[in-house]
Amino acid sequence: MSGFLSLAVNGQLKEVRAGLTDTLLTVLRDQLLLTAAKRGCNQGVCGACTVLVDGRPQRACLSLAANCEGAEITTLEGLRANKAVVRLQQAFEATGAVQCGFCTPGLIISAHWLLSQNAKPDADAIRAGLCGNLCRCTGYRKIVDAVTAAAAETAP
């Protein structure tokens, strides 16, 4: 049985259908066609589903859609004009921090939040900040370099 929800996604109110067990990830991807957030495990471990909820990274796969009414949800698609995110995206591109790209949207969300909390993190702080996003392709080194590069571009 499902009902209707009004979710604030990327600055817009969206009417969606949801059942009790539907997660935010399912609603974002299947109904709103916001497919940047990925389903890698559906258990909250891999991090590919990470989105911002009220400005903080959360697992969309562990968020019940029904429980998200009233929260501000931001996906990578909604950060297109955000200068800090664009800096990160360009750094990821330039540094070779993207291979298959499946982990990338969730990683950029987590990295964006990390830099908003800590403008000049060292390598250890970056690794700690991103340990909730699995990558199987890169070995993480270039991801750390990309975040370092993006951080270096901001004013000291």
Binding site: T21, N42, A66, C131, G132
Partner: protein, 285 residues
């Protein structure tokens, strides 16, 4: 606008009433456990009682007398960053800091975590070492249970059907320090074994609380070990004896993270390393 089966009460009493009346009702705190289980078809609640709207469950507040109350919906991130968890209470902050990863720490709550009582979770031994009390609400009313009595068995707590955790009460922080040593396969995994240690500095000596996590249905703590270590934290014989006793009191199982035999083997060694670190703190600071 609503989804059938989803409830978002504004008070604890309303939540308790829903748990009693709504069929197959489960509480939803952070979702880290319940929604993961639902996604894996291990839980199929017909009704979900979200605790997100209950003001009483949020926040960390000082109580009369200087003790701290952590609301059940407090996220791990908040607990990990709480500067008032100082002295002997630091063990709780250290445990929160090592749960999972920064993203999950934005979601998971202390109430949700302990209500599920995964014996490999980080809060149980830390709460035992901190001498915490668990605040419970149910149809008969409110009650408090000491942490050491709250964790009863594998995934079983002192919660009766229809009850929920409303908060964690901590005694006044005592001067000293706390260490939470977590041993896991990879960062963010559940512990293979953990040592939660709270050391209080007193006139003429110290007082020790140590609890072992991940090695049985509930945290392992022995009063005689606490006492012996209080007398001789840096004493090699006392440390070895404590390790043997605690390992013998553990009741670990084989699981995908480690064997029971390995846990018994490694507990005294982890304890010794933790106590060595504590001893250095006592000598150095």
């Amino acid at each position: 606008m609503s989804v059938p089966g989803y409830h978002r009460p504004a008070t604890v009493d309303a939540a308790v009433r829903l748990l009693a009346t709504a069929e197959g009702a489960r509480c939803l705190a952070g979702g880290a456990t319940l929604v993961a289980m639902m996604n894996a078809n291990l839980a199929e609640p017909q009704n979900i009682v979200s605790l997100a709207g209950i003001a009483e469950l949020s926040g960390i507040a000082e109580q009369a007398g200087g003790s701290l109350r952590i609301g059940a919906m407090t996220r791990h991130r908040e607990t990990a960053g709480e500067t008032r968890l100082t002295g002997t209470l630091a063990v709780l902050r250290e445990a929160a800091r090592q749960i999972a990863n920064p993203v999950v720490r934005n979601m998971g709550t202390i109430g949700g975590s302990i209500a599920f009582s995964d014996p490999a979770a980080d809060y149980p031994p830390a709460l035992v070492a901190a001498d915490a009390e668990i605040e419970i609400a149910g149809a008969p009313g409110r009650r408090c249970v000491a942490a050491v009595d709250f964790f009863v068995d594998w995934y079983a707590t002192a919660l009766q059907p229809g009850e929920l955790v409303t908060g964690v009460l901590l005694p006044v922080a005592r001067p000293g320090f706390g260490i939470y040593r977590k041993f896991a396969r990879v960062t963010g995994d559940f512990a293979i074994a953990s040592v939660a240690l709270a050391v209080a500095r007193e006139l003429g000596g110290i007082s020790v609380r140590v609890a072992i996590g991940g090695c049985g249905p509930k945290p392992v703590r022995l009063a005689e070990v606490d006492a012996a270590l209080g007398r001789g934290l840096g004493d090699a014989d006392a440390v070895r004896d404590a390790g043997e006793r605690l390992a013998a009191a553990c009741d670990p199982v084989d699981d995908t993270r480690a064997t029971a035999a390995y846990r018994r083997l490694v507990v005294p060694r982890l304890l010794a390393a933790t106590l060595a670190q504590a001893h250095k703190s006592l000598e150095g600071r």
